[in-house]
């Protein structure tokens, strides 16, 4: 009995053990709850079946978004409730794609239906969740075909979406056009959009969909910005006006330029910001034959990579951002450049 009075060097810290036990139980319970997400999760996306989607896609010429999932897959459940529960993501999907939720039942039932098997094979699905966008004209092809060099389907796809489409169809020297198309195909290659595997945050899904918009994009747009003429600049490059001038340099074709168009020009928030706070000027640089004016401007502002944004402030040095990494960075740059004036 006397021994219990002495603190042993080997005494077990019971408080710590109990805390660990409680936390472990909480963690297990929490994770189990997460996986079997409550029925109240908003069902914002209008899912179709595989056959329904096929019919609709061929009719509307809209690409199909396959979401491959499984009942035992925790991240899939999280994605469905968190990412697809976000309004902006749900709206993008509903607007631009025909969404299909393909659930793998091979573990519970031993095998999948033939339709599911075929779709999984087409999109080369190995783990869950996987998102894959398939254009309407490739619904029966192996998506891998799209990424193989020199494939006729791919050229057609690219050609349709590029300014070369007209040249291609009007019968211009096909080899010449094809060669230029191929250069841009290679350009696209470096930035091609594979299927998206796994899930960590909703922003990843948002980013993936953004990339897909490029791949299946509409012709290059100038967006919602009210572009104006280039104002006169004094010798040091400062504008005569009081409000900041935003000069956007974009290429006529090129993935990064496309991204910038989508993220800045067509985005409601940024386009209204630009329209409100500055005088925007658009400089479209032809990739094949850039104009002298464009070259001079590039040199003046020391621009080495396109697309680029230059913000000219009345009493300060020009703020230049050349090259484009992501929508997020472009937005940050813009906010800081315009705020620095205040």
């Amino acid at each position: 009995m006397a021994q219990s009075e002495f603190v042993s060097t080997k005494h077990d810290p019971k408080m710590l053990y109990v805390t660990a036990l409680i936390l472990t139980v909480l963690a297990v319970v929490g994770n189990l709850l997460d996986e079997n997400h409550p029925e109240g999760a908003p069902k914002l996306i209008k899912w179709r079946t595989i056959s329904q989607a096929r019919v609709e896609s061929l009719q509307k010429h809209k690409p199909v978004l396959y979401v491959f999932s499984a009942n035992w897959c925790g991240p899939c459940k999280r994605m469905e409730s968190i990412a697809f529960g976000r309004r902006d993501i749900a709206n993008t999907i509903n607007k631009n794609y025909i969404p299909v939720l393909v659930i793998d039942e091979s573990q519970e039932r031993g095998k999948n239906t033939p339709a599911v098997q075929k779709t999984q094979k087409q999109c080369n699905v190995n783990s869950f969740p996987t998102l894959c966008v398939v254009p309407w004209n490739l619904l029966d092809a192996d998506v891998e075909d799209v990424f193989s060099t020199g494939n006729e389907i791919e050229r057609n796809l690219i050609a349709r979406n590029l300014p070369y489409a007209e040249a291609f169809e009007s019968g211009e020297d096909k080899d010449d056009v094809s060669e230029r198309a191929t250069m841009d195909v290679l350009d696209y290659y470096r930035n091609r959009v594979p299927a998206h595997v796994g899930y960590s945050t909703p922003d990843d899904i948002s980013e993936y969909l953004f990339q897909c918009n490029i791949w299946h994009r509409l012709p290059p747009s100038k967006g919602k910005i009210h572009w104006g003429p280039m104002p006169t600049l004094d010798a040091s490059g400062k504008p005569a006006t009081q409000s900041p001038v935003l000069i956007a340099f974009v290429e006529d074709c090129g993935v990064l330029s496309d991204k910038m168009r989508l993220s800045l020009f067509e985005n409601d928030e940024t386009s209204s910001l630009i329209n409100r706070d500055c005088k925007p000027v658009l400089v479209e640089v032809s990739k094949q034959e850039p104009s002298q004016e464009a070259i001079a401007l590039k040199k003046r502002f020391a621009i080495s990579a396109l697309p680029a944004i230059v913000v000219l402030l009345p009493n300060e040095k020009p703020i230049v951002q050349d090259g484009f990494t992501s929508k997020k960075h472009a937005l940050q740059f813009l906010n800081r450049a315009l705020q620095s004036r205040k």
Binding site: V7, S8, T9, K10, H11, D12, P13, L16, Y17, T19, A20, L23, T24, L26, A27, V29, G30, N31, L33, D34, W72, C73, G74, R78, I82, D104, S106, Q107, E108, R109, G110, K111, N112, Q117, Q120, V125, N126, S127, F128, S200, T201, P202, D203, S304, A305, I319, Q321, G323, F324, T325, S326, H329, Q332, F333, R336, A337
Partner: protein, 256 residues
């Protein structure tokens, strides 16, 4: 918390030239990579700051063998002959490891931010930097606890090997769990698959989390409480297990 043990751990880490050399290499590699892409290749990396893998490496290099090497060369007995409890010893080691690795990780982040500042100053968002820094510290604290347990179970730097083996096993489990099975015969094979695969999957996912305990801070408003609970559960459980096992361990004494 015993300050002497912390200082001893830091000095021991600094005294090993091999460890220090590898640490410097791992520390500088992502910075060099970023610098080269930004300044030489003029390619802007998507992520301006290196991700959790490099931080995990830093923790492993700083902390591997912190208890194990003392078990190995018999200095643990002498240390524990002093008036301190095993619990104090373990907690001090944990503190020492996570402080040292946090310092390495945060200084690496600072260097990367400096490089980015020279080239793309407009793209540095203080909120991003703070978030990345906080995530690094969170990973250091969590992974240190895991390493302390592994180090208290095996001697020398075998805990590193242990860690790698466990990572591979976790990945394997996830792989099994995600097996695409086609046409499994009905009856017991199908039953086995329907039970085994989810179990393996969950074990693998749990394993992956344990071997890199992290809380993603990118959307602060949406952090699931289960992740936070899991994170603290990992730390508390692993430290408890380390203390428990060392308490019951018979320390090597003599040859008889």
């Amino acid at each position: 918390m015993i300050w002497a043990i912390c200082k001893n751990t830091w000095n021991q880490c600094l005294a090993s030239r091999v460890r220090l050399g590898i640490l410097c290499l791992v520390w500088i590699a992502p910075i060099l990579q970023n610098t080269i892409s930004l300044c030489v290749q003029h390619v802007f990396p998507e992520a301006l700051y290196s991700q959790s893998n490099s931080v995990a490496l830093l923790v492993l290099i700083v902390g591997s063998g912190c208890i194990g090497s003392q078990l190995n060369d018999g200095t643990l007995s002498l240390t524990l002959s002093r008036p301190l409890t095993v619990a104090q010893y373990v907690m001090s080691k944990w503190f020492a490891v996570f402080v040292a690795s946090s310092v390495a990780a945060l200084s690496q982040l600072a260097a990367e931010v400096l490089v980015s500042l020279t080239r793309t100053p407009a793209l540095i968002n203080p909120a991003d930097v703070l978030t990345n820094g906080a995530e690094r510290v969170i990973l250091c604290v969590g992974l240190s606890a895991v390493l302390i347990l592994l180090s208290s179970l095996v001697s020398g730097v075998k805990d590193l090997a242990f860690f790698l083996v466990l990572s591979m096993v976790a990945s394997l489990c996830v792989g099994i769990g995600q097996l695409k099975v086609d046409d499994v015969p009905a009856g017991w094979p199908q039953l086995a698959v329907s039970v085994l695969c989810p179990v393996c999957y969950h074990i693998g996912q749990a394993g992956n989390f344990i071997l890199g305990p992290m809380v993603d801070l990118s959307s602060l408003a949406n952090i699931p409480w289960s992740v936070v609970a899991s994170y603290f559960a990992v730390i508390a459980t692993f430290l408890s297990l380390a203390i428990f096992s060392l308490n019951r361990r018979e320390l090597p004494y003599g040859a008889e």
